[in-house]
Amino acid sequence: MKDLDVVVIGGGLLGCLAARNLCRWNLHIALLEAREDVCTGISRANTAIVYPGYDHKPGTLKSEMCVRANARFDALCQELDVPFSRCGSLMVSFGEKADAVLRKKYENGLLLGVPGLRMLSGEEARKMEPALAEGVSSALYAPTAGTVNPWELGIAACENATANGVELCLNTCVLGIGRTAKGYRIETDQEVFSCRAVVNCSGLSADSVQKLLFPTPVYIAPDAADYLILDKSAENKPAHIIQYEPEDGGKGFNAVPTVEGSLLLGPSERKNEVDFAVSKEGLSFVRERAARVLPGLNLQDTIRSFAAVRPNPQHPDGSSIGSYVIDNPDSGFWSLIGIKTPGLTCADELGRYVADRLAAELCAEERPGFDPHRVGIRRARDLPLSERVVLVQENAAYGEILCHCEGVTKAEILEAIRRGAVSVDGVKRRAGSGMGCCQGSRCERAVMELLAAELGVPVGAVRKDGPGSEILEGSHGKN
């Protein structure tokens, strides 16, 4: 049995940032993740927007957190060495009804103290963003909106947490939770953990994990969403995040110029579906929205489509819950249940919120040695030539480009594996290989060989992502 102060359940964005925030205190912490890698759940597939925070009801935790989280985002990304693009957003409308909705949001934003908001006419908006459709009648400009790669942020937080002493337990699924004199007893498919406190960040399973010991005030009613990604070479991409507020009050739409340079379009909305499989109707919806708002885009530039699952929080009677649910059913037990948009934006705030309260409950002292800085994988492509020359002299593997679309070198891929990637997608999430227009078809083989060599397994055992996803004919693959 492993003895700890705090067990964090779930290695998504919320769990990773909760664990990192807990490191500020003198506590012995473990982060438990059921899968073989962190950030492969909701945190892997979402819209990647760091929201400015004008959307939420004043006086709620969500509205307060979102504005504050946005303001702190540069500092967070600097500490964790993660690229963050504060590109600003334009929420656009086509007609009077939606114009009025934007003005309401604008006023709400002013009330909440969202900096720099401006209402623009359609003409002003097009001047700022020539890619916008002629029919745009007004726009709400939010200069503080931005975008970050969600899994990059989560992985960085996890690396920083482990560097500060958090024990990361992968392939460890929580099956049961019990009360003990000391606090809690966590049963998993691996070992048993004994701890004084628990933070439940288990994403889509957060309600069922809570139910292992306590009743849950919130049920998760998942639904699915679809996205398209256009290549970085696509023409007429917007420079700002574009959000669309439909006249009929229906589902909006986002176009996000990602930190990688591609353009993310979506999401669609499919009720009562829990499937990470892409739907044809969902894709048509996204295409139709894109054509309406950004007519200059050529959807032939699509390089990928994917699906996501939303963890919609509901009351037991089925009515939906708008605010964040941070449940504390007993001392030392904290649950984040059904945290959807803007959960990425607020992940650090939510982590801090819970960590501060837990530290007080446990009478923990601040840890003097806490180092908030993590250094990312050094990327050859970002360096000026002179530095690149020196880098390759020091390490020849920095000269060998393996992912030609994104210019990722062998050294970066080896470093991704050293930092914990155990699959081709794990490498992709850390090194960025396979994110470009060929979607890994040219580098996958080389990545597989490196994984096999570094992990000491035959190439036939190399996986795309997780158990059962062997790329070659399973164990029959020749080494």
């Binding site: 499989a277 990928r304 002299q393 020849a396 000269g399 060929c438 795309k464």
Partner: protein, 298 residues
């Protein structure tokens, strides 16, 4: 900064031919760079026969064809740099090269781009369904099987009946795998008639026209595809453990994105337009090489 009169990017059929022709035209300062550790581009992985009928008068395999080309290269004083990727080209006529041996910037007078083509992938089709393991592009599958002797799946569906799709269908069959279907959206196969006879007919591989893959099933590995008939919209589930896409090539011109017609720049081979035959890519390479070589000597 090092200088060269002529920089050729890509040592496939087109690039090698261009280098040799430029040399023969009198240019004595030719640098040929390729990111692969060997010469020949796509050819070494094309182990089937069907190359060189017009250039060498006999039907060679891809590797044998490269051997001929490489002999010609060795007889001339062209500097060949394998394992060197050209990372960037500027309008000021400089290029950055990167390889194990180092990164360097060089200045050139003329540039011949012979970077070949890249494959369209399944991602570009936005097919509904899951995103499992077990999906390959034809070129990727060909490289894994022919150059690395890796074993892909046993129940294979091939999307696209161009030359690559048909040749891959035969390869899988020869490897003892079952090709369940080659799917083609048109009413006729896409590639050369000789490939249809030698690959599809000769091995009695089922080919279905006017249909496409509408949905991908299975997670974490592919378990099947939904095939839709385009004429009547009827769909059918086809179980498989491997999907190979052979849905077309795109000329690889990333290095010169945004460039206008520059007087110092020429294109040859598949990056200029996609050639069905290596001989044609080589012939264009030779023509461009000769022309550029002559201009440099003048």
């Amino acid at each position: 900064m090092e200088r060269t009169e002529l920089l050729i990017v890509g040592a496939g059929a087109a690039g090698i031919s261009a280098a040799c022709a430029a040399w023969d035209a009198g240019c004595r300062d030719v640098l040929l760079a390729d990111r692969l550790p060997y010469a020949g581009g796509i050819l070494p992985q094309c182990i089937h026969e069907g190359f060189g009928l017009s250039a060498f008068g006999s039907e060679l395999t891809g590797p044998a064809y490269v051997e001929r080309l490489a002999e010609g290269l060795a007889q001339r004083g062209v500097r060949f740099l394998p394992g060197k990727e050209v990372l960037a080209v500027t309008k000021e006529k400089t290029a950055v090269l990167s390889g194990k041996g180092g990164v360097e910037e060089i200045r050139f007078e003329r540039l011949i781009l012979a970077t070949g083509s890249r494959e369209r992938t399944v991602g570009s089709l936005s097919i509904a369904g899951t995103r499992p393991a077990g999906i390959f592009t034809a070129g990727q599958a060909q490289e894994m099987i022919n150059l690395h002797h890796w074993r892909l799946g046993s129940q294979v569906v091939i999307l696209g009946s161009g030359d690559m799709g048909m040749i891959l269908a035969r390869r899988f069959t020869l490897e003892g795998k079952q090709v369940l279907a080659v799917l083609e959206q048109d009413a006729h196969y896409g590639g050369l008639a000789r490939n249809f006879h030698r690959c599809i007919e000769a091995y009695q591989i089922p080919i279905r026209y006017r249909c496409t893959v509408r949905e991908i099933h299975g997670m974490p590995r592919i378990t099947g595809v939904t095939v839709e008939a385009l004429d009547n919209g009827k769909s059918e589930f086809l179980p498989c453990d491997t999907l190979v896409t052979a849905i077309g090539l795109v000329p690889e011109r990333e290095l010169i994105r945004g460039f206008e017609k520059e007087p110092w720049l020429s294109l040859a081979g598949n990056c200029s337009r996609v050639y069905e035959l290596a001989d044609s890519a080589a012939a264009e390479g030779a023509k461009v090489g000769r022309y550029v070589g002559k201009q440099l000597v003048k």
